[in-house]
Symmetry: C2
Subunit: 105 residues, 2 copies
């Protein structure tokens, strides 16, 4: 019996960011996000009802908060984003592609 792997395979089409749910219950969602240079959301901010814990497993990215704080994330860096802490992703790497693990809880 062999387990799934979060690093490969990657989705063949990365024109848009790809979100995949890996596990889920009533109160938590565990998600893989693969980015390929995208900033997101394209306009405005993420303003989420749940807390989000996020880690970069491959590549690099920058998150901007609406108070002007900018956080650069490299491989292994993680961050807790409280609900309604408005933020956006301003940069993601393309080589290697950025692989995120996000836990919404």
């Amino acid at each position: 019996m062999s387990p799934a792997n979060i690093l490969h395979p990657l989705p063949p089409d990365l024109t848009e960011e790809v979100f995949e749910t890996l596990a889920q219950s009533a109160s938590v969602k565990i998600e893989r996000i693969v980015s390929n240079g995208q900033a997101s959301p394209e306009s405005g901010w993420y303003d989420q009802d749940d807390d989000e814990w996020v880690i970069v497993l491959q590549g690099a990215a920058t998150i901007l908060f609406d108070d002007g704080t900018e956080i650069a994330l490299s491989k292994g860096d993680y961050l807790n984003i409280p609900a309604h802490d408005r933020h956006r992703v301003t940069r993601t790497s393309t080589d290697p592609k950025t692989i995120w693990l996000a836990v919404h809880y």
Copy 2:
């Protein structure tokens, strides 16, 4: 502002496995576990009340379930372990040390 990193630093004393809570709410606990050759628990089985989603971020490990199924995990491999699915860790790597991320939910 710089984020924390799950890959380093590692705890200086790894005589025992080291469990650290990275984020927590009433219904979820996100935990880093660092293993250095240990099998666990030392006797018997883990028999948990919550579901556990677990991923190996560095190193390698083997999990044995009480139905005899053995699953070898390498870097990036993940597994969902339903509540009360009795299991134990029979092997963890020492070079590199095994870094797990576990989400109890």
